[in-house]
Symmetry: D2
């Protein structure tokens, strides 16, 4: 640890000593005072300066070459799992904040090639296509510029100086192009808490105790620590596959409790993803609130969050062989200045 | 090999016996007769039926769990390389066939969050974005529905029944979502043939002899065989980085000679990618021609082709340590019915 | 009338003499045999060749300079009415055939200008924007290439040679850029048949008798004849404004009966528009059907159709002063090769 | 004139008395001090409050019913002219500030209909399309939210409170949906000053004297006054049609001199449009400048500006019959919150 980091860590320790510990019991939250809880929790989990003033990666810094080399050793059978939902017009988006499903159209088609209207020589024909889509329309990473806390972005920067209509000028997702691969760990909380259905109820807030008991139940391959890419399965997507979207995008769902912020911090994970639209429990745990856990962990902790992942096939495989760790390679598209990216995450076991 | 495959292979062998061998010397091509060369070469390298009537993957079938498990053992240091060019308005596209550079716009910004105009509670602010882009605007895979040969698509299907304005109804790139990872091999033909600059001249047609001598010179880690993902570096992108695009998209460039089709077939590679716009040499090797090697290898051989990859950092690393093989994970976005996909390929060494 | 046109007209007259007259009573339709009714009606109202082999305008040819000059005399008070619905994400589209509502995003904003991040000299700031939208997302004209009848497009051309993935190569809406202005006539069938509410029931098929009785009731300014641009108000949009879309795009609605085709033909109107999504009654008047009146009048008659117009303010004004004719200027955007166009139609009274 | 307006006008008169008159001679401009000239000119031509605090229309308020009724009387022959350039990929945009040419793609085609792949009953086939385009890609109006002067928008509002990433919340172009029609006047300065070619040199700054002499030469039908929609032809588009774009979008061009601001104000015109990309002369008349006349007239005067209009056919007609006035109907698409709009302006003579 560099001397600068030592100083950061010492400051954080002193801060923690002078503050009451954060609750990890949702029942202790004052539903009427999100502002206080957000402020206290943000203070407790803040990583600003931990990786220098110029940092663009946040907790992704926890992954290094050694972590990736170790993760590769987890590939035994060579089984490959795509954790991406489809990208098409049948997706969950319904227009909230102008988020549509992807519109994929053809510039050239096989019917045209067959009709001989393309004008190419020697019998070659072609098809070509375009897409228009929100970067958060389907399986995606939230970039560090996606959420702000009281006007500030990751590392304490002013939101207005980070993300303008030209995009994220500092923490654009392109900076994470090569770094998001490492040891993946699946915490199948849905199967753990609801073995009969594998699906949590909407509005169920996953607690630290739930995460820990899931790890304990799943066994040693589920241990979570520094640099890991943690995947939490609630079963919400399984229900959408069975019953239709029914409010998948923005509606009620199980998800992480606000009170897991401390756990997300002290485990020093690199990133986390879920099979839900919003990562955290919905409705949120305060009366008048919008994604308070996002507000704490993205701009303060520097945590990269994945949403709308398809964990079904992987989870079935893990349940079958009892091994919950794997190599996860989940690179964002390096869209310059993007605050999020579609991704097709690949788990290799 | 299944009995069906045995029959396919036997038929192919008989066909080869009754045909003159394909030339592997570009000088032997009759520049005035692309149709004949295309027809003969397509016949010789055709894999239709090899993986059954319903196949959607072509040569990607050469990758199995064993190949992926082996590939993972190639990760030693854990070094990670993104092989993607940026996705932004500074890209190479100039409008040919309505291909533009990606247009990335913001739905919400940090300046808005800072100005307090977003209407969220408790100090949370957000940024969100959308993109409109051709699927072939930057680093990409060509899907099997991208090119047709005389009205036929991969596996002998009628082009007009495969790709309509609803997209590729059969071989859409979503079917390859989980399969494109395995052993990557870099053939740095630019450095091999031009050690002083590392860059081939525009119009230089890379021959089978070039590929073989490059493999020999690079050593044992460069051996190419069944199921490999082969990356051929010409140096064209290095020049674009230095001098600007100057016709990178569609203009003159080094690339594979038409005469490499047989080599691409007999090596049984799973896919190939280059650092150029068009994979094959440009101008093409016939007087009136458009991408004849595409016409042979995509619909006939079922070969997946990558274009506009950034091989610079990886190539420098390989040159330094003398190891040209690695785990390559390069999943397309599962855009339903797409005939291509942007990709951020990750090489782990 | 040119000698060619005389021949066309004579042929049409002979054809009509040898055919039974078309029914104008919906009850006479055989709900199980749309194909027969479509074939007979198409034959009876077909205008192919009427304006020459190269025609791109169909019934818009009925408007000439004299008609426009007369229409301008209808402007008395100078009152101006926009007949366009809004273009935004709150529109009626729900994704059918990939039709979304318009996605309007900013390239530059005032918040950015105020934050001083734009890099312009001497205090200038700017805002700029982009849109992605189906051309039929809101108030629009259907171009002549929008609908085909058994493989044939307007004037008897083969559909596959008219509209490829490059767009409408022959009858693109750009050819109508300067011609769609003339005498507008409002037929407020909603107010006429339902004076208490002004709104027809969903599924109500407007008949020739309804149109004629509306004209008679509204008085002399409602007479419909050659070259007129006829606007038919059902009240469907009024209900959407009051109650929300509720299936406005594609759901049940009043609209023109299939049996009005003959009237649309013999009146020699130039174009027609309604305040509904689909112009014709929905559900359609056959058991298994999709927009049969479109199939008859666009490719066969060459009729230009407008949909999703906002006739509310204009209708109120007409009801108040008893004058139902006006100058209508409704130019499409000249999007090269488009089969439809958004439009902001202007009525001047 | 209302008493409020009387007060505004009196204040403006007092202000003018205490200021030196604005120069109308470009040679008097201090090329090194755009800030001073902009400040002085903005002060002199400012219309803030003239139409009330809530105004969204600026000088478009000069058009009333009487003006439109009079304009309709100018239609004599009924000749119709579209003043729109095409909307397609062959347009002038080259990517500056992410402005591309329109990308028009098909959702359904005639080739598909002919191939029978669409799934509709009774032989109906269809074609449908989408577009992605900057609102300023081709013939367009600048909305009042398009330009800011030192952080302020039209009527003195704060730019950051007017145009966010949600669009123009106050002066969106939808508010002008029904108002932009009236008396059009063509000032063919290109033909007037350069009768032999009809085209001004690039960089030529059109002065007040030029405008006045053009009016005098063209005769009584060219008189310019309150509520008029003035079209200034430079000939720049004629050259683009002949020679290719050659920097049409953003490059050198004739255009209005900065010194015409006073004339634009005192004539009380409603709007102005030119056949150039940028309305004002380029390069601009200060050493380090960007569109200073925009900065003065849009946010301060509230003037609506049209750009990239095709005045060629209309100008030829006016030159032939010597009549330079006509009814102009040029409604923007009511895109909610847009700061500009594509338009197909129609001149009826």
């Amino acid at each position: 640890m560099s001397s600068a980091n030592v100083r950061v860590e010492e400051a954080r320790q002193r801060r923690l000593e002078t503050h009451p510990p954060l609750t990890e019991n949702p029942a202790d939250l004052d539903r009427t005072d999100p502002a206080r809880h957000i402020a206290e929790t943000a203070e407790a989990v803040r990583n600003w300066g931990r990786w220098g003033e110029d940092d663009r990666l946040g907790t992704l810094n926890f992954i290094g070459d050694a972590e990736r080399a170790h993760a590769a050793t987890l590939v035994r059978r060579g089984a490959s799992f795509s954790l991406s939902q489809p990208f098409d017009m049948n997706g969950p988006q319904q227009g909230w904040r102008r988020r549509t499903n992807p519109v994929h159209t053809m510039l050239d088609t096989g019917t045209d090639a067959a009709a001989g209207t393309q004008g190419f020589p020697h019998g070659i024909g072609g098809a070509d296509d375009v897409i228009a889509m929100p970067l958060q329309c389907s399986t995606q990473w939230d970039g560090l510029g996606h959420i702000f806390d009281r006007g500030l972005a990751w590392n304490g920067r002013h939101a207005g100086q980070v993300v303008t209509s030209d995009g994220d000028l500092i923490t654009g997702i392109e900076h994470a192009a090569s770094v998001i691969s490492g040891r993946g760990v699946l915490l199948d909380v849905g199967r753990h808490l609801r073995p009969e259905t594998g699906e949590l109820d909407d509005g169920y807030a996953i607690t630290v105790a739930d995460l820990e008991s899931c790890i304990a139940a799943q066994g040693a391959t589920s241990a979570v620590g520094r640099g890991d890419l943690v995947l939490v399965r609630t079963g919400r997507y399984a229900r959408a596959l069975r019953e239709g979207w029914n409010g998948y995008a923005g509606g009620p769902s199980a998800g992480l409790s606000f009170t897991t912020a401390g756990w997300l911090h002290r485990t020093e994970i690199a990133a986390i993803a879920t099979d839900t639209w919003g990562f955290e429990v919905r409705p949120n745990e305060f009366d008048d609130a919008f994604q308070p856990l996002h507000q704490v962990v993205i701009p303060n902790m520097g945590l990269t969050i994945g949403e709308m992942w398809d964990l079904e096939e992987l989870a079935a495989h893990c349940a079958a062989d009892g091994v919950y760790e794997f190599l996860l390679v989940a690179p964002p598209l390096p869209i310059t200045g993007a605050v999020g990216s579609p991704v097709n995450p690949i788990a290799l076991k």
